[in-house]
């Protein structure tokens, strides 16, 4: 469906105003994820609705605020524990009670500090491992004399795209560095190809998860016995035996 038609079909308005069916809602939610212009149109309508309501705002008297504040804040409070009948206590009992409270507080404080510390140590260890991996990868491509490089430049669909292939001519290992590629839509996936005598050979898929969250530096792809150039195309999810989609980047060795 044409995105512009979809935007002006009235579905955005019925979604925002709470009139859309469950089906229409999930449809619009996935359209918003895929097409930024749909999301933009939704937000624009939401903002104009809010402005409209603000212009028509009805100020309530202060007494109403007081009443609502008390009700609302009270509504979320835990029901107080039934108070026990007051018994006479001498000062020693008070002192013991107070120190027990202090002790409990201190224990709680210690435990939460301990947990926090454990968490930090864990995060730190993970970060060190990640950094070591990256260093290892950088060393591999910068200090290995057998490495050949193909700088793949952006093609028509996305001229700003850029990616680099590092190919080890002895081990035949292929590593991909994604310098810049647009995030693929959910039903598509990028596929790397080696070009040998003009024929494309599948070098494997780039996982879509790669475009969200923590990025690895180098992606290990399939081995290539020989190649003159490399290219990346956008294919249907899971890839194709022959490239069918648009070519995003291409570069010779």
């Amino acid at each position: 469906m044409n995105v512009q038609e979809y935007i002006s079909s009235g579905i955005i308005e019925s979604y925002v105003l709470g009139l859309a069916s469950a089906e229409e809602r999930s449809e619009l939610e996935s359209m918003c994820e895929q097409y930024p212009e749909v999301l933009q149109a939704r937000i624009a309508f939401e903002i104009s609705l809010e402005q409209q309501a603000v212009q028509n705002a009805i100020q309530q008297p202060a007494a109403i605020k007081e009443k609502i504040m008390t009700t609302v804040i009270g509504s979320a409070k835990v029901v107080p524990i039934k108070s026990t009948p007051v018994v006479k206590m001498n000062w020693l009992k008070y002192a013991v009670a107070a120190s027990l409270v202090l002790l409990a507080g201190s224990l709680y404080w210690n435990i939460s500090l301990y947990n926090r510390n454990k968490q930090l140590k864990n995060d730190y260890a993970n970060t060190v491992v990640k950094m070591d991996n990256m260093e290892e990868q950088i060393r591999m491509i910068t200090q290995n004399p057998n490495i050949k490089m193909a700088a793949m430049k952006g093609m028509d669909p996305s001229p700003a795209s850029f990616a680099t292939v590092y190919w080890d001519t002895t081990s035949k290992d292929v590593y991909l560095l994604v310098n810049n590629l647009p995030k693929p839509p959910g039903d598509k996936q990028y596929q790397l190809w080696a070009l040998l005598d003009g024929r494309p050979v599948d070098m494997g898929m780039i996982k879509n998860e790669f475009f969200i969250g923590q990025k690895e530096l180098l992606l290990k792809m399939k081995n290539a016995s020989a190649a003159q150039a490399f290219a990346i195309t956008l294919e249907t999810k899971g890839g194709n035996p022959e490239p069918k989609g648009d070519m995003y980047v291409m570069g010779k060795l």
Partner: protein, 180 residues
């Protein structure tokens, strides 16, 4: 509370989720007026508007965890909480009874197949409604302001369900151009 403070939606939601009381104060100061407008477009009587407003704030405070920013802005969510509460109110037995006692039986013109077009004050979105053409106005009034489902409207107005849907959609696109 510091009166000069201004929260982003994200900050405000995070604070509300922590049950921060001064953030609730901020929420009330910044949104009670506009949410009152949303409710008042559905309920004419100020007293009831205030009752519903209180219910709405209790609901927001209790259900703030359910708000999902990926599905819409905070105000949109609150506006829908307010609309639902207002519609529940006008459909409740108690409210219907008091209305019966008060209503003046001279609005026969507004009755369509047993469903009466609400006599509310034209405020907020409701005011925009008056600028729509009749067939659109009735549909938005019944669906948005009175909460009838498309099926119910189709039955009451004897219009095919598909037509109800397309007309509501087209009415809504008109509505959008009017409030922009």
């Amino acid at each position: 509370m510091n009166p000069g403070i201004k929260y982003s939606e994200q900050e405000l939601v995070a604070l509300l989720q922590q049950r921060n009381e001064s953030s609730f104060n901020y929420l009330y100061d910044n949104y009670s007026g506009s949410l009152s407008a949303v409710i008042h477009a559905i309920i004419p009587d100020q007293e009831t508007v205030r009752d519903v407003l209180q219910e709405v704030f209790v609901n927001i405070w209790k259900k703030i965890e359910l708000y999902d920013p990926s599905k819409g802005r905070l105000f949109t969510w609150m506006m829908n909480v307010a609309r639902n509460a207002a519609i529940d109110k006008i459909r409740s037995r108690g409210y219907q009874d008091t209305k019966k006692n008060l209503s003046v039986p001279d609005n026969a013109d507004n009755a369509i197949g047993g469903v009466s077009v609400q006599q509310t004050v034209d405020v907020g979105l409701k005011k925009v409604l008056t600028k729509l053409k009749e067939e659109h106005r009735v549909l938005i009034d019944l669906s948005y302001f009175q909460g009838y489902t498309h099926e119910e409207i189709s039955k009451v107005l004897s219009i095919p369900l598909g037509t109800v849907k397309t007309r509501i959609r087209s009415a809504l696109t008109h509505l959008r151009t009017m409030i922009q």
